[in-house]
Amino acid sequence: MDILLQQLFNGLTIGSVYSLVALGLTLVYGILHIPNFAHGALYMLGGYLTLTMMVYFGMNYWVSILISILTVGLISVLMERIVFHPLRHSTPIQHKVAAIGILLFLEAVAQLIWGPDFREMSTPYGQAVTLGGVTFTWQRLIIVVSAIGVMVLLYLFLKKTFTGSTIIAMAQNREGASLVGINTNKVAILTFFVAGALAAIGASLSSPINLVFPGMGHLVILKAFVIIIIGGMGSIPGAILGGYILGFAESIGATYISADYKDIIAFVLLIAILSIKPQGIFAKGVA
């Protein structure tokens, strides 16, 4: 029982990070209508920037995260302005090729600046606590609480404010958004900023329990693709739920099946769910 509880908590931790990354991916999908392969590179940069602020500039963990959020958000916006915006009238394949190009470019930049080594991010919240038979570090609790907090804020922003609603409106009908007077350029910029910020938050929260290295985004972004396919492309509740489903499936699978196969679970889950419900769990009724 204790093992199960422990694994459920671990699932909640990784699920929180997956959900944050998948949310950014699904929001940008609403603008580009392709999955942004470069999203994993934003995640990686988020980890490195927080690490750099802490190690080289001796900043507090939270201040470092804030700087990382703003910087990655800005890089994400530049990505939209410099690459995707000029391509807006071209075919989806050109977006995909461009996204892969950005991914390779940003990873090469990271290697150039920080080198190829694996790095550790030390956290001020490393002590372990035991609560009701579950042992965890404060860091893991911080991941869960912060991620849920961020998601609640994001939800309120998207549903309750005019500015947030423009993101949803544009995803549902781009010309319809133009015709009610929404500036679609501004919405695209805003969406990319939010997506970059979410990736930076996810990476900064999870880096202390993982490692920071140039390829750290690969597996995360592949899993985020699985999540938004399972949850339905562009669906926000789907991205959140999909993230947690995958988190739980992985941590429970690692304990009861085999830790070696942990990373394959996402893809087995993908095949299983798509065989039963090819349109995804939360697929939209109308485009």
Partner: protein
């Protein structure tokens, strides 16, 4: 109030609208008639800033508006109900209407008032306010599209074939609503294939043929024009 002078639009090598001259006075209901692909929708897209003119100009209250972005044009008071309605399918009826008031987002009081006016004009939208837009019938979706456009408090409303796919009884109701919107002070430019009903409420009409305006005049003149009768009135 709204004037097109020699407006020409090309899609690649294909010229969709050539040298169109249209003049809409304040308070008018002006009808654009013509077959599918004759250039009516393209004219609307050009006015809304969704496509650019290759030559000619579009004037609104005497100032040129071509080259302005679609959102600026809505802010200036020209709003379009597109033929395919362009609703937000996964938003509720009320959310769709609220998005329609986007240009007035700072003025909550006015939004409330506009919302009440729209519900008064189309009571069915009030009954369905929590339903998703995609779950509405064709007629209700058209009402929602018009209601959403009204939320921006337009000076000119462009209505692209509001009767498409609607039952005859609903069409009649739709035209009554359009007339009421006009009575409340909104100038209307209406594209229609249903010439008879459209001309019955119009103050002026233009007939498109292959991208150019072939005939123009008062409804009476168009009714008596041999060519127009043959092509659009079936008599």
């Amino acid at each position: 109030m709204l004037e097109l002078r020699g407006a020409t639009v090309n899609y690649g090598n294909f010229s969709a609208v050539q040298q169109a001259d249209i003049s809409v006075e304040e308070g008018d209901i002006v009808v654009l008639l013509g077959a599918n692909g004759a250039g009516k929708s393209t004219t609307f897209r050009a006015i809304s800033g969704l496509v650019r003119l290759v030559s000619g100009e579009i004037l609104f209250k005497g100032d040129s508006i071509d080259g302005k972005s679609p959102d600026k044009i809505v802010q200036m008071g020209i709003v379009q109900c597109a033929e395919d309605r362009k609703l937000f399918p996964q938003m509720s009826v009320e959310q769709n209407l609220m998005m329609g008031a986007y240009v007035h987002r700072k003025n909550k009081k006015q939004i409330r008032k506009s919302l009440e006016e729209v519900y008064e004009l189309f009571p069915i939208l009030y009954d369905k306010r929590t339903n998703f837009a995609h779950s509405l019938s064709g007629g209700q979706q058209q009402m929602l599209a018009i209601g959403r456009a009204l939320m921006s408090k337009p000076k000119v409303m462009l209505l692209d074939e509001p009767s498409t796919g609607l039952a005859p009884l609903v069409v009649e109701q739709m035209f009554k609503s359009i007339q009421q919107i006009n009575n409340n002070g909104t100038t209307i430019l209406l594209a229609e294939q249903n010439a008879k009903v459209a001309l019955s409420i119009a103050t002026k009409g233009y007939v498109y043929e292959n991208g150019s305006i072939a005939v123009e005049g008062k409804p009476k003149e168009l009714f008596s024009n041999e060519k127009v009768r043959k092509a659009y009135l079936g008599a």
